[in-house]
Amino acid sequence: MDWTWFHKFGSPPHVYRLAGVLTPWFAWPAVAAILAGLYGGLVLAPPDYQQGDGFRIIYVHAPSAWLSVMIYATMAAAAFVGLVWRMKVAHAVAASCAGIGAWFTAVSLVTGMLWGKPMWGTYWVWDPRLTAQLILLLLFFGYMALRAGIDDLGRADRASAVLAVVGLVNVPIIRFSVDWWNSIHQAPSVMKLGRPTMPMDMLVPLLLMLLGFTLYFAAVLMVRLRAEVLRRERNASWLKEAVL
Protein backbone atom coordinates (compact mmCIF):
# COMPACT_ATOMS: atom_id res chain seq x y z
CA MET A 1 0.00 0.00 0.00
CA ASP A 2 1.26 3.38 -0.93
CA TRP A 3 1.14 5.71 2.07
CA THR A 4 2.56 8.77 0.39
CA TRP A 5 -0.89 10.24 -0.07
CA PHE A 6 -1.34 10.08 3.68
CA HIS A 7 1.85 11.95 4.36
CA LYS A 8 1.09 14.39 1.65
CA PHE A 9 -2.27 14.97 3.23
CA GLY A 10 -0.58 15.61 6.51
CA SER A 11 1.82 18.15 5.14
CA PRO A 12 0.76 21.68 6.04
CA PRO A 13 1.77 23.43 2.80
CA HIS A 14 -0.13 20.93 0.77
CA VAL A 15 -3.19 21.18 2.96
CA TYR A 16 -3.01 24.95 2.95
CA ARG A 17 -2.91 25.04 -0.81
CA LEU A 18 -5.49 22.33 -1.28
CA ALA A 19 -7.91 24.02 1.10
CA GLY A 20 -7.46 27.24 -0.80
CA VAL A 21 -8.23 25.56 -4.09
CA LEU A 22 -11.24 23.71 -2.74
CA THR A 23 -12.92 26.64 -1.02
CA PRO A 24 -14.68 28.11 -4.06
CA TRP A 25 -15.68 24.66 -5.25
CA PHE A 26 -17.60 24.19 -2.03
CA ALA A 27 -18.74 27.76 -1.57
CA TRP A 28 -20.49 28.49 -4.84
CA PRO A 29 -22.49 25.27 -5.05
CA ALA A 30 -23.45 25.87 -1.42
CA VAL A 31 -24.77 29.32 -2.24
CA ALA A 32 -26.65 27.97 -5.22
CA ALA A 33 -28.17 25.07 -3.32
CA ILE A 34 -29.21 27.22 -0.37
CA LEU A 35 -30.78 29.86 -2.59
CA ALA A 36 -32.62 27.26 -4.60
CA GLY A 37 -33.69 25.49 -1.43
CA LEU A 38 -34.93 28.72 0.07
CA TYR A 39 -36.93 29.57 -2.99
CA GLY A 40 -38.36 26.09 -3.14
CA GLY A 41 -39.09 25.98 0.55
CA LEU A 42 -40.54 29.39 1.06
CA VAL A 43 -42.34 29.92 -2.24
CA LEU A 44 -42.87 26.74 -4.22
CA ALA A 45 -43.65 24.24 -1.49
CA PRO A 46 -47.34 24.11 -0.56
CA PRO A 47 -48.41 24.78 3.02
CA ASP A 48 -48.58 21.72 5.20
CA TYR A 49 -52.13 20.46 5.64
CA GLN A 50 -51.75 20.42 9.42
CA GLN A 51 -49.17 23.02 10.23
CA GLY A 52 -49.87 25.53 7.50
CA ASP A 53 -46.88 27.68 6.70
CA GLY A 54 -45.30 27.00 10.05
CA PHE A 55 -43.73 23.81 8.78
CA ARG A 56 -41.40 25.88 6.60
CA ILE A 57 -39.14 26.26 9.60
CA ILE A 58 -38.00 22.78 8.70
CA TYR A 59 -35.85 24.22 5.92
CA VAL A 60 -33.53 25.82 8.41
CA HIS A 61 -34.13 23.57 11.37
CA ALA A 62 -33.45 20.17 9.90
CA PRO A 63 -30.31 21.19 8.00
CA SER A 64 -28.77 22.83 11.03
CA ALA A 65 -29.67 19.87 13.24
CA TRP A 66 -28.12 17.50 10.74
CA LEU A 67 -25.09 19.68 10.40
CA SER A 68 -24.55 19.83 14.15
CA VAL A 69 -24.31 16.06 14.44
CA MET A 70 -22.19 15.78 11.33
CA ILE A 71 -19.78 18.41 12.57
CA TYR A 72 -19.35 16.67 15.89
CA ALA A 73 -18.54 13.43 14.12
CA THR A 74 -16.05 15.19 11.86
CA MET A 75 -14.43 16.90 14.79
CA ALA A 76 -14.06 13.74 16.82
CA ALA A 77 -12.76 11.75 13.88
CA ALA A 78 -10.17 14.39 13.13
CA ALA A 79 -9.20 14.55 16.79
CA PHE A 80 -8.76 10.80 16.84
CA VAL A 81 -6.48 10.91 13.81
CA GLY A 82 -4.51 13.73 15.34
CA LEU A 83 -4.12 11.88 18.60
CA VAL A 84 -3.13 8.53 17.17
CA TRP A 85 -1.00 9.56 14.20
CA ARG A 86 0.21 12.81 15.73
CA MET A 87 -0.97 14.69 12.71
CA LYS A 88 -1.04 18.40 13.32
CA VAL A 89 -3.30 19.05 10.39
CA ALA A 90 -5.94 16.78 11.89
CA HIS A 91 -5.86 18.76 15.10
CA ALA A 92 -6.29 21.88 13.02
CA VAL A 93 -9.39 20.37 11.44
CA ALA A 94 -10.83 19.49 14.84
CA ALA A 95 -10.12 22.95 16.18
CA SER A 96 -11.83 24.51 13.18
CA CYS A 97 -14.95 22.42 13.63
CA ALA A 98 -15.91 23.28 17.18
CA GLY A 99 -17.04 26.86 16.71
CA ILE A 100 -19.09 26.11 13.63
CA GLY A 101 -20.64 23.11 15.32
CA ALA A 102 -21.68 25.05 18.37
CA TRP A 103 -23.31 27.69 16.20
CA PHE A 104 -25.39 25.24 14.26
CA THR A 105 -26.35 23.27 17.32
CA ALA A 106 -27.61 26.49 18.83
CA VAL A 107 -29.45 27.36 15.62
CA SER A 108 -31.17 23.99 15.57
CA LEU A 109 -32.17 24.41 19.21
CA VAL A 110 -33.57 27.90 18.78
CA THR A 111 -35.32 27.19 15.51
CA GLY A 112 -36.74 24.07 17.12
CA MET A 113 -37.97 26.11 20.03
CA LEU A 114 -39.50 28.65 17.68
CA TRP A 115 -41.22 25.82 15.93
CA GLY A 116 -42.30 24.23 19.17
CA LYS A 117 -44.22 27.28 20.36
CA PRO A 118 -46.88 27.18 17.63
CA MET A 119 -46.90 23.39 17.40
CA TRP A 120 -46.82 22.35 21.03
CA GLY A 121 -47.80 25.60 22.68
CA THR A 122 -44.54 25.87 24.59
CA TYR A 123 -41.00 26.78 23.73
CA TRP A 124 -39.46 23.94 25.60
CA VAL A 125 -40.39 20.42 26.59
CA TRP A 126 -38.06 17.80 27.95
CA ASP A 127 -38.26 15.64 24.90
CA PRO A 128 -35.45 13.13 24.28
CA ARG A 129 -34.40 14.62 21.02
CA LEU A 130 -34.31 18.13 22.35
CA THR A 131 -32.48 17.02 25.45
CA ALA A 132 -29.90 15.15 23.41
CA GLN A 133 -29.39 18.22 21.28
CA LEU A 134 -28.92 20.35 24.38
CA ILE A 135 -26.31 17.92 25.64
CA LEU A 136 -24.56 18.09 22.30
CA LEU A 137 -24.38 21.85 22.67
CA LEU A 138 -22.89 21.39 26.10
CA LEU A 139 -20.31 19.01 24.72
CA PHE A 140 -19.30 21.59 22.15
CA PHE A 141 -19.09 24.21 24.88
CA GLY A 142 -17.03 21.92 27.05
CA TYR A 143 -14.67 21.24 24.18
CA MET A 144 -14.26 24.92 23.45
CA ALA A 145 -13.87 25.83 27.11
CA LEU A 146 -11.16 23.25 27.57
CA ARG A 147 -9.35 24.53 24.51
CA ALA A 148 -9.60 28.09 25.72
CA GLY A 149 -8.40 27.03 29.15
CA ILE A 150 -5.01 25.82 27.93
CA ASP A 151 -2.48 28.27 26.57
CA ASP A 152 -0.08 25.96 24.85
CA LEU A 153 -1.52 25.12 21.46
CA GLY A 154 -0.06 21.63 21.32
CA ARG A 155 -1.37 20.76 24.74
CA ALA A 156 -4.76 22.26 23.97
CA ASP A 157 -4.89 20.20 20.79
CA ARG A 158 -4.20 16.93 22.47
CA ALA A 159 -6.26 17.50 25.61
CA SER A 160 -9.31 18.54 23.67
CA ALA A 161 -8.77 15.64 21.29
CA VAL A 162 -9.04 13.22 24.21
CA LEU A 163 -12.30 14.87 25.18
CA ALA A 164 -13.68 14.74 21.66
CA VAL A 165 -12.85 11.06 21.32
CA VAL A 166 -14.40 10.23 24.69
CA GLY A 167 -17.44 12.17 23.57
CA LEU A 168 -17.54 10.24 20.33
CA VAL A 169 -17.89 7.01 22.26
CA ASN A 170 -20.43 8.56 24.54
CA VAL A 171 -22.64 10.53 22.18
CA PRO A 172 -24.47 7.49 20.82
CA ILE A 173 -24.84 6.19 24.36
CA ILE A 174 -26.23 9.50 25.53
CA ARG A 175 -28.61 9.50 22.62
CA PHE A 176 -29.76 5.99 23.35
CA SER A 177 -30.14 6.53 27.07
CA VAL A 178 -32.06 9.73 26.59
CA ASP A 179 -34.45 8.02 24.22
CA TRP A 180 -34.89 5.26 26.73
CA TRP A 181 -35.35 7.75 29.52
CA ASN A 182 -38.42 9.23 28.00
CA SER A 183 -39.84 6.08 26.56
CA ILE A 184 -40.69 5.08 30.10
CA HIS A 185 -42.56 8.24 30.91
CA GLN A 186 -45.47 9.29 28.77
CA ALA A 187 -43.89 10.67 25.62
CA PRO A 188 -44.99 14.08 24.38
CA SER A 189 -45.32 12.36 20.99
CA VAL A 190 -45.52 15.57 19.05
CA MET A 191 -42.28 15.17 17.27
CA LYS A 192 -43.71 13.43 14.25
CA LEU A 193 -44.66 15.37 11.23
CA GLY A 194 -47.88 13.41 11.22
CA ARG A 195 -47.43 11.93 7.83
CA PRO A 196 -45.34 9.05 6.60
CA THR A 197 -44.03 10.58 3.42
CA MET A 198 -43.42 14.08 2.31
CA PRO A 199 -44.56 15.29 -1.10
CA MET A 200 -41.79 15.89 -3.56
CA ASP A 201 -42.21 19.64 -3.68
CA MET A 202 -41.61 19.75 0.07
CA LEU A 203 -38.87 17.18 0.08
CA VAL A 204 -36.71 18.49 -2.73
CA PRO A 205 -36.11 21.91 -1.14
CA LEU A 206 -35.27 20.16 2.10
CA LEU A 207 -32.72 17.97 0.36
CA LEU A 208 -31.31 21.02 -1.39
CA MET A 209 -30.95 22.80 1.95
CA LEU A 210 -29.27 19.78 3.49
CA LEU A 211 -26.83 19.65 0.62
CA GLY A 212 -26.30 23.40 0.70
CA PHE A 213 -25.61 23.48 4.44
CA THR A 214 -23.20 20.59 4.16
CA LEU A 215 -21.27 22.25 1.35
CA TYR A 216 -21.35 25.50 3.25
CA PHE A 217 -19.76 23.77 6.21
CA ALA A 218 -17.09 22.32 3.99
CA ALA A 219 -16.31 25.75 2.55
CA VAL A 220 -16.12 27.48 5.93
CA LEU A 221 -14.08 24.62 7.29
CA MET A 222 -11.55 25.09 4.52
CA VAL A 223 -11.11 28.77 5.32
CA ARG A 224 -10.78 28.13 9.02
CA LEU A 225 -8.44 25.27 8.41
CA ARG A 226 -6.10 27.51 6.47
CA ALA A 227 -6.04 29.96 9.32
CA GLU A 228 -5.38 27.20 11.83
CA VAL A 229 -2.61 25.71 9.71
CA LEU A 230 -0.91 29.07 9.49
CA ARG A 231 -1.23 29.54 13.20
CA ARG A 232 0.42 26.22 13.88
CA GLU A 233 3.35 26.60 11.54
CA ARG A 234 6.12 28.23 13.49
CA ASN A 235 8.90 29.07 11.13
CA ALA A 236 8.46 26.99 8.06
CA SER A 237 9.99 28.23 4.87
CA TRP A 238 6.87 27.69 2.79
CA LEU A 239 5.07 30.40 4.72
CA LYS A 240 6.76 33.08 2.67
CA GLU A 241 5.17 31.93 -0.56
CA ALA A 242 1.92 31.15 1.15
CA VAL A 243 1.24 34.57 2.56
CA LEU A 244 2.24 36.48 -0.51
Binding site: I34, L42, V43, P47, G52, D53, G54, R56, I57, V60, H61, S64, G99, I100, W103, F104, A106, V107, V110, T111, L114, W115, K117, P118, Y216, V220, V223, R224, R226, A227, E228, L230, R231, E233, N235, L239, K240, A242, V243
Partner: protein, 55 residues
Protein backbone atom coordinates in the same frame (compact mmCIF):
# COMPACT_ATOMS: atom_id res chain seq x y z
CA UNK B 1 -45.98 40.13 -0.81
CA UNK B 2 -47.37 40.99 2.59
CA UNK B 3 -49.21 37.73 2.46
CA UNK B 4 -45.93 36.01 1.86
CA UNK B 5 -44.38 37.87 4.78
CA UNK B 6 -47.27 36.96 7.04
CA UNK B 7 -46.60 33.27 6.43
CA UNK B 8 -50.11 32.29 7.32
CA UNK B 9 -49.83 33.73 10.81
CA UNK B 10 -46.53 32.02 11.60
CA UNK B 11 -44.39 35.04 10.78
CA UNK B 12 -43.37 35.72 14.35
CA UNK B 13 -41.84 32.28 14.61
CA UNK B 14 -40.74 31.64 11.08
CA UNK B 15 -38.81 34.79 10.31
CA UNK B 16 -36.79 34.83 13.49
CA UNK B 17 -35.84 31.25 12.75
CA UNK B 18 -34.71 32.15 9.25
CA UNK B 19 -32.99 35.27 10.50
CA UNK B 20 -31.05 33.28 13.05
CA UNK B 21 -30.03 30.70 10.49
CA UNK B 22 -28.91 33.47 8.16
CA UNK B 23 -27.01 35.09 10.99
CA UNK B 24 -25.22 31.83 11.68
CA UNK B 25 -24.32 31.43 8.03
CA UNK B 26 -22.97 34.96 7.76
CA UNK B 27 -21.20 35.05 11.10
CA UNK B 28 -19.33 31.84 10.46
CA UNK B 29 -18.09 33.09 7.12
CA UNK B 30 -17.01 36.40 8.60
CA UNK B 31 -15.31 34.78 11.57
CA UNK B 32 -13.46 32.33 9.35
CA UNK B 33 -12.24 35.00 6.99
CA UNK B 34 -11.17 37.25 9.83
CA UNK B 35 -9.23 34.39 11.35
CA UNK B 36 -7.48 33.73 8.07
CA UNK B 37 -6.61 37.36 7.59
CA UNK B 38 -5.30 37.63 11.14
CA UNK B 39 -3.20 34.51 10.74
CA UNK B 40 -1.75 35.84 7.50
CA UNK B 41 -0.94 39.18 9.04
CA UNK B 42 0.73 37.42 11.94
CA UNK B 43 2.83 35.28 9.62
CA UNK B 44 3.80 38.31 7.59
CA UNK B 45 4.82 40.12 10.76
CA UNK B 46 6.94 37.18 11.87
CA UNK B 47 8.58 36.82 8.48
CA UNK B 48 9.38 40.52 8.43
CA UNK B 49 10.88 40.20 11.88
CA UNK B 50 12.98 37.22 10.83
CA UNK B 51 14.21 39.03 7.75
CA UNK B 52 15.03 42.05 9.85
CA UNK B 53 16.96 39.89 12.30
CA UNK B 54 18.75 38.02 9.55
CA UNK B 55 20.30 41.12 8.09
Amino acid sequence: MSEFLAMGGYAQFLWPAYALALLALVVNVVVARRALQAARAEVARRLAMQDGAGE
